[in-house]
């Protein structure tokens, strides 16, 4: 790794660490006084789960190709947090939610998350063994999309939360969902998937919104602190970008003004 990149990476990590620790402390003490901005997709999730419980039908959560051990590891952890919140709500019903993954490394994560969610409600005996499913995907994940499309009908899914890593194949799943008039919430870390989600899903999450499910759906102060840290870092980045742009544009703008005023 280049020494400049090493230094920059270290600075970013140390800065983010300091902000995260500080924000967590603030969140623990003054949580109620700091509001979170409204994210419609997170407001829709409890409604979707509630409707599924009433209809005695499962909610489908899917991680797409997010898995452990690669570049999507942290996305898989963020997806697991969302799944935990969904499963914890769904645990009071009869039918457990169904998790589908295309990366087998996400299977143990999914099983563990589902088990913890049901244990937290004291309803571990309600857990269905086939609630976590692996659908192997081909090179373009289209086989996975096809599996989800058929699953919607076969398992009488009440609604889908597609939260993970998807490309344009997400369009097929969301189209099938719309044809069956099923509510859908989608988010992807890939740009193509995000564009498709924005157009075709009833609700979508964009960019960093995917990583704050615990703060919006749970009651953990540490999750809330992470969200504050993320917002702080985002504003710091925006300020840095604006400052850099001003510094770059400063000289040409001054020269142009001088020329306009007849000085040059």
């Amino acid at each position: 790794m280049d020494s400049t990149i090493q230094v920059l990476t270290t600075v970013i990590i140390v800065f983010a660490l300091a902000i995260t620790v500080l924000a967590t402390q603030v969140a623990r003490r003054r949580r109620d006084s700091i509001p979170l901005r409204v994210v419609p997709a997170y407001e829709a999730i409890p409604i979707l789960v509630g409707a599924a419980i009433e209809a005695d039908r499962p909610v489908m959560v899917s991680f797409g190709s997010a898995g452990l051990g690669g570049s999507s590891t942290l996305l898989a952890l963020a997806s697991a947090e969302l799944f935990y919140q969904v499963a914890r709500r769904a645990a009071i019903g009869v039918t457990s939610p169904v998790l589908t993954v295309s990366d087998p490394s996400a299977l143990p994560l999914g099983y563990g998350t589902l088990r913890r969610a049901y244990e937290s409600r004291g309803r571990i005996e309600r857990l269905r063994e086939n609630s976590v499913r692996w659908y192997p995907s081909g090179p373009r994940s289209l086989a996975f999309a096809a599996a989800l499309m058929t699953m919607m009908g076969d398992d009488r899914i009440a609604g889908g939360i597609l939260f993970g890593s998807y490309g344009v194949e997400l369009a097929l799943v969301l189209d099938a969902s719309a044809r069956r008039r099923l509510p859908s919430i989608a988010a992807s870390d890939q740009l193509e998937g995000q564009a498709v989600a924005w157009v075709l899903a009833e609700q979508s999450l964009i960019g960093e919104e995917m990583f704050v499910a615990g703060a919006y759906l749970g009651d953990s102060a540490t999750q809330f602190g992470s969200t504050i840290a993320l917002d702080t870092l985002r504003w710091a980045l925006i300020l840095a970008l604006i400052t850099a742009s001003v510094l770059v544009l400063q000289q040409p703008v001054i020269e142009a003004i001088n020329q306009f005023l007849g000085g040059g």
Binding site: I13, T20, L75, P104, S105, R133, A143, D154, A178, F211
Partner: protein
Amino acid sequence: MARLLSLLTSVLAIGIGIVTLIGLLSGVGIFAGTTNLFLQLTMITVAVTILIGILNLFGVHTRRILKRQRGWVYSIVLLASALVVIILRLLGADDANMALLEGVQVSIESAFAGLLLFALVYGAYRLMRQRVTWTGTLFTLVLIIILLGALPFAEAGAVVQVRAWLLAVPVSAGARGILLGIALATVVTGIRVLIGQERSYRE
């Protein structure tokens, strides 16, 4: 006992995470060697999960067949296909395996890829039909300009220029903004894992 075990696993996970981070950042010395070892162990563990996946696949679909659940016939096809591929692999019939892959899976996936266009166009139509917002209108307008600009007509010079500007400036800026947001969130999530704030450590 359970709490002690949980504490030990948390300390182990956090310790390995910090050593790996230092090793990746420094790139030399004892940390780099240890990091390589940890990464290799991770790859082996991830490879083992394929076995878990196969067991899961057979378990889920066998149960579906035995309980005659909706779509159980498709489960028979799936299990039979999986068994055929595994047996062919064990027999060393790689040519037959490749023929199956090329003739069945690639063909079906290509057909699906063809359907994508219709799903996307219908989705854009539905977006405008269901909720006419200024963002939806802007999306449709930009979509039309991008499509028109891609047509090979000499008369559409201005549209081609607008398309090029759209792709180079607003689309590129938006994409970078989204990716920067994801990168920041990834860093914060990584730090949460490293300092033991992740839910799996606590429960």
